[in-house]
Amino acid sequence: MKPDVILRIEGVSRIFPGVSGRQPVRALEQTDLTIGRNEFITILGPSGCGKSTLLRIVAGLDMPSTGRVVLDKKAITGPGPDRGMVFQSYTLFPWLNVAENIAFGLRERGIAKDQSNSIVSEYINKVGLRGFENHLPKQLSGGMQQRTAIARALANNPEILLLDEPFGALDNQTRGLMQELLLGIWESERKTVIFVTHDIEEAIFMATRVIVMTARPGKIKADIQIDLPYPRHYTVKTAPEFSALKARLTEEIRAEAVLAAQA
């Protein structure tokens, strides 16, 4: 069965104009990608391959030089609450506590206070931050900050959740737990997710489909369906099918990393 399409990336490219007489930078070659509802897409590539640029274009934070992105038949012209975003840097509002941060989008959209409170409470439970509602971001660990950021994005009930290397700055153990947490939320809520990472294991573990990108200028090199069954347990990382996928993706990525290192 073919899932219905939620997001269509059509001929999107991005060229950054050269600053002070330098050559313009081609960050992203013309890219086409179609994403079905409820898919969990990971975009995998070496640093500087334009994967974050692509995500930012989908988020509406950057404009493509050519092409367009269509979400639910509507062309994207700017950022909006229908696409929740979790950034690599910690972007909680430092003057708001955890609950207020999660409620931020609801408040911006004028959701009534008691409805907002119950949504916030629900997501605080989902990301396991009960008891930390009144903590300020500076009092939280990196993992807890990113959990709050995920809750903040999901509280808006977006059509699609975009994550830009959200666990990149976390230690390995915390990162593993965060992957399980996010996967658990996806399995129960079935949101469409696009997750950008340079970590192969992370890319395979959560995804229904891994998109591999080439070194700059970035374009799609491989589109690989991950047929490991859900719910996935962390032990799947040691399964032979997982290892085979990992070996294959390592080869794909390695060639690109070598190219990127030479550039």
Partner: protein, 260 residues
């Protein structure tokens, strides 16, 4: 030894003790120079005379009224400058066309010395309170605008982007990201500029004034009463210290999220 290690913190007790001891040292040197007879009494009063003169000023010459006048002038001019300057600074930091429109003039106006306006302002506004308030206003208004616009313009971009992805409108970003994110810097700017305002008020009072600390100082000069002059200067220092402390306490209370 820990004392000589760079950036090593000191204990709170040691900090207070060291801070006080410099005041003691300062007064001791002053006392030595004047009471010891190294400096003529005509030019520099000794600390004891200064305290006596100060007491006389307060009890016999109604100096408290002068202090109150000076404080009211500073606060009046400063509050008006803040009420108009802070919103303009925020708009200038947030909206680039506003910045392009105002920044060159404000940068220029900032270097116009407030004290040089005193003669002109006397012509325009006489020697009444309006003139005093205007001097403070001119001295602080442009500084407030410029410093605040710079800090607003340097707001973390990722916070602004996060707000947009959460559904904020342009106005929402200004009101609920740019302003709260920069509130501590705005308060800190106001604290700094208030400190400068104390110097402008004295200049304004030195010329064509019949009350205020500056007026007392210029009268005392005619009488060679250096003790009174120094007392006046010290009073300004103390008021400045108190307002500074007040601001710091308020900042610490409201902006604890900023502190590490």
């Amino acid at each position: 030894m820990a004392f000589f290690r760079p950036l090593e913190p000191v204990s709170p007790q040691a900090r207070i003790l060291l801070g006080i001891s410099f005041f003691v040292l300062f007064f001791a040197l002053w006392a030595l120079a004047t009471l010891g007879g190294y400096v003529s009494k005509t030019f520099l009063a000794d600390p004891l005379t200064m305290v006596q003169d100060g007491w006389q000023l307060l009890t016999k010459f109604g100096f408290a009224h002068d202090i109150a006048m000076t404080v009211w002038r500073v606060l009046g001019g400063f509050i008006v400058a803040g009420l108009i300057g802070v919103p303009i600074g925020i708009l200038m930091g947030a909206y680039k066309p506003v910045e392009a429109f105002l920044e060159p003039f404000v940068s220029f106006a900032r270097y116009l010395p407030a004290s040089a306006f005193v003669p002109l302002l006397i012509l325009w506004a006489g020697i009444g309170e309006t003139q005093k308030l205007l001097v403070i206003f001119i001295g602080s208004f442009f500084q407030i605008i410029l410093i605040i616009s710079v800090s607003v313009a340097n707001t973390r971009r990722d916070l602004v982007e996060a707000a947009y992805t959460l559904g904020s409108s342009n106005t929402g970003v200004v009101l609920r990201v740019l302003i709260p994110a920069n509130a501590p810097d705005i308060a800190e700017t106001l604290r700094l500029v208030l400190g400068w305002s104390w110097t402008y008020v004295i200049v304004a009072e030195l010329i064509g004034s019949s009350s205020g600390i500056g007026h007392m100082i210029i009268e005392s000069q005619a009488l060679l009463a250096t003790g009174q002059i120094i007392f006046g200067i010290i009073v300004i220092g103390i008021i400045g210290l108190i307002s500074d402390l007040g601001f710091k306490l308020i900042n610490r209370h409201y902006f604890s999220w900023r502190l590490a």
